[in-house]
Symmetry: C2
Subunit: 373 residues, 2 copies
C-alpha cells in the first residue's frame, strides 16, 4: 500500500503509441484499447438519419442527456432514469462520480487497486484528493480485506473497474458487495466502472447496480461495447441524494453531451441484436487463444482474461519498463503497455491489447523474438 | 459592485422554458438562444459521409481535438494550433479557461460584468472561486475604469463576453486591450468568450486574439455560427505557458470531444461560403427590426443589439422579475428571460431571444398586451 500525491501527468499511453508510430519498422499496435471491429449497423443508420434532421434536433438536448437514450439505458440497467446522467464517455462519468465523492465532504482519499487504469489517480489528484493503492491478489482480483484495512474516515471513495483493465479479472459480486459495505461503514462512495461489461467470458459478471445500495455509483459507456471510443457516449448512475449535484456539475462543465452521437447510440441500442455482441466476444476469444498459445510456447507467464480484452504477460528477465516496451517495438515489432504504467504490483508485466486483427502476426513475432533470445 | 458566493444553482433558463412549455396556451419562445435556422449544407454532408467511415475513424481522435479541425480553426484565427484545445462546446472552453486561472494560484476572484451570462458565476463558484460583478455602462458596454478599480491581487480572472449576451454590445478592441493590461498588472487572466463573433452588425468587432497578449484566453464555438448547439464543438486558445495544464484537465475530464461532431464541423468549415453566414445575419437584422418597431409603438425602452441575437426591453411598471416573465407567458403568449437572471444591473429588463421565425407574431402580441394594459 503506497500513498502518492503525484502531479496528474498525461497518461503514458500516448507516449508509447507515439514511439511505435515513429519506429523505423512495421509494428503491431497492442497498446490502445480502441476497438478495431465494426460498430453496429444500426449505429451508422442512426447517424445517417440524424444528418437529415430538422434544425431543432441539432440543438441542445436536456443537459442530463437525450430522453430516448436515457430511457433505453434505464430500462436495460433496471434503474429509474432520474438517477442517470448521460456523459461525455465513461471518462466524464468517472470524473463526475469522483467529484461527487469530494463534494460530499466525507473524505478526500481515493482507494484504488494496484495495478490501476492511470486515469483514476489522475482524476483524483486533479480534484485535490490523495491516492492510496491496494495491491490486488496474484490472480488479479480485488483484495477485499486489504481494502477494508486501508479504508478510514479519510476515505472519500473506493474506485473499482470490473471486468478489469489491465488484469482481466471479473470481480465476484460478493466482493463488490463487501466493498459497498466498507464504503458505507466509513461514509465513502463505491464507484464501479463497468465499461467492459459486455466483455465477460465467465458468465459470472453482475453489475453493482443489482446490489441496489446507497453509496454506490456505477459508470459505463458504449465506447467498448459498440466500438466507438470517439463518440463519447457514457453514463453514470448515482444514488438519489447525489444526482442533483452531479447534474449541476455536468451542466457547468459541458452543458450537455453531443447529440449526433447520443442519437446514433439510442438508435443502435434499440435495433442491435444480441448476436452482434456475441460475435465480438467470439473474435476476442480467438485472439486470446492465439496470443496465449504463443506465450505457452515461449514459456512466459500470462493472465487469461475473464473479461475485458487485455492479456498481461511476464517474460523471463524482461520487466515491464518503458525501456523494455520500446525495445519490444524496435526489436520485435510489437507494441504493448509497460506494466509499470499501472502501478507497482505488475511492474514485471507487459499488457497486450487485443484490439487488432494482427494478433497472429504479433504472436509469431513474440515467439521468434523470445525463443531466439 | 457586489460580492457573492452563492451556491452554483442550475441556471434558470430551463425553469422559464419549462414554464412556457406547460402553459395552457400557444407561446412564442424567445427564451432560448438555440438557433432555429438551417445549419450549413456541408455540415449535413460531413456527418452523412462520416456515418460510412471505417472503424478506426470511430475511435478517439487526439485528446486536444481532431487534427483537421484544429488546423482549420488555427488558420482562421491566425494562431499556432499548439495553443488550441478543441472542447465540448464553449461551455467546456470557459470551464477550462476559468480552471486555468484558479490553477495559476494568482488569485481566486472572478471579475464579471453585471449583467452576466449565468454560467460564468456558476463555474466560478464550482471551481471554488468568488465572484465580483461590475455593472456595465448604460449602453451595455464594459466599464473599464470600474473593472480596473475592482481588480486586485486577489483577482484570478476577468471574464468578458463580446459580442455580449444579454446586452448586445460589441466591445471596442481598445477596451478589451485596456482590460488585458489590467489583467497583466494584477497577474490575472483575461478570458474573452467570443461565441457570438459571427453576429457582429457593426463591422467593428475584433477578436482579442489580434492583441497577441500573454494573460489572454479566447474561447468560442460553432454552436451559434453554424446553428448546432447540440453538437458541442468549441475551442479555447491559451497562452503558451497554460496550454499544457489545460490539455491535461481536458483529458482527465472528457478524454476528448465527440468525433462525429468534430468531423462534420471541420468539413463545414472548409466548404461553407461566406454567404451562408451573411444570410443568417440578414435574418437576424430583419427580426431585430420587427421587434424594435413594436417596442417603439409600445413606447418601451430597448437596446438595439450591435451583435449577438438578443434584445433587452424595459416596459413601464413591468420589471424583469421571474413573476413578470411568467405573467408574460400566460397573458401575452411570449416567453422572455427575466433580466434579474443576469444580475442586478438590468433587473428592470426582459431579454428576448431572436431565435424564432415567429418574431412578427411575438411583436403583435406584445403590442396588443402592453397597449391594452
Amino acid at each position: 500500500m503506497t500513498e502518492t500525491d503525484e502531479a496528474y501527468d498525461e497518461p503514458l499511453f500516448f507516449r508509447v503509441i507515439q514511439y511505435a508510430e515513429n519506429a523505423d519498422r512495421d509494428v503491431v499496435d497492442m497498446v490502445s484499447g480502441n476497438p478495431d471491429w465494426e460498430p453496429p449497423a444500426a449505429l451508422r443508420d442512426g447517424l445517417r438519419d440524424y444528418a437529415g434532421a430538422d434544425p431543432p434536433e441539432f440543438q441542445y438536448q436536456a443537459s442530463e442527456g437525450l430522453g430516448e437514450l436515457r430511457e433505453e439505458i434505464a430500462a436495460r440497467r433496471n434503474v429509474d432514469s432520474s438517477r442517470l446522467v448521460a456523459t461525455n464517455g465513461a471518462g466524464e462519468a468517472n470524473y463526475l462520480a469522483m467529484a461527487a465523492a469530494m463534494e460530499r465532504g466525507a473524505g478526500t482519499e481515493f482507494l484504488l487497486t494496484d495495478p490501476v487504469y492511470p486515469y483514476y489517480p489522475g482524476k483524483a489528484t486533479m480534484l485535490g484528493g490523495s491516492v492510496t493503492r491496494v495491491p490486488v491478489h496474484e490472480d488479479g482480483h480485488v483484495d477485499v480485506a486489504g481494502m477494508r484495512a486501508a479504508a478510514s474516515e479519510d476515505t472519500g471513495a473506493i474506485v473499482l473497474n470490473t471486468p478489469n483493465n489491465p488484469t482481466g479479472a471479473v470481480y465476484d459480486i460478493d466482493a463488490v458487495a463487501a466493498l459497498a459495505d466498507v464504503a458505507a461503514e466509513v461514509d465513502a462512495l463505491l464507484v464501479v466502472d463497468e465499461v467492459y461489461d459486455h466483455f465477460d467470458f465467465t458468465g459470472r459478471f453482475e453489475s453493482a447496480l443489482t446490489l441496489d445500495r446507497d453509496h454506490v455509483v456505477v459508470t459505463s459507456s458504449f465506447s467498448k461495447s459498440m466500438g466507438i471510443t470517439g463518440f463519447r457516449v457514457g453514463y453514470a448512475v448515482f444514488p438519489d441524494d447525489l444526482v442533483d449535484a452531479a447534474r449541476t456539475r455536468h451542466m457547468l462543465v459541458n452543458v450537455t453531451g453531443s447529440r449526433p452521437a447520443q442519437t446514433a447510440v439510442a438508435h443502435a441500442l434499440r435495433e442491435t441484436p444480441p448476436s452482434y455482441y456475441e460475435s465480438i466476444r467470439d473474435t476476442i476469444r480467438e485472439r486470446i487463444d492465439a496470443l496465449t498459445a504463443a506465450l505457452d510456447a515461449i514459456g512466459a507467464d500470462y493472465t487469461t482474461p475473464e473479461g475485458a480484452f487485455y492479456v498481461l504477460a511476464r517474460f523471463a528477465d524482461f520487466p515491464g519498463t518503458m525501456a523494455n516496451a520500446e525495445r519490444l517495438i524496435d526489436e520485435a515489432g510489437v507494441a504493448g503497455m509497460p506494466g509499470e504504467t499501472f502501478g507497482d504490483a505488475y511492474d514485471d508485466w507487459i499488457r497486450f491489447s487485443l484490439c487488432t486483427d494482427r494478433v497472429d502476426e504479433a504472436a509469431a513475432r513474440l515467439t521468434a523474438y523470445f525463443e531466439g533470445s
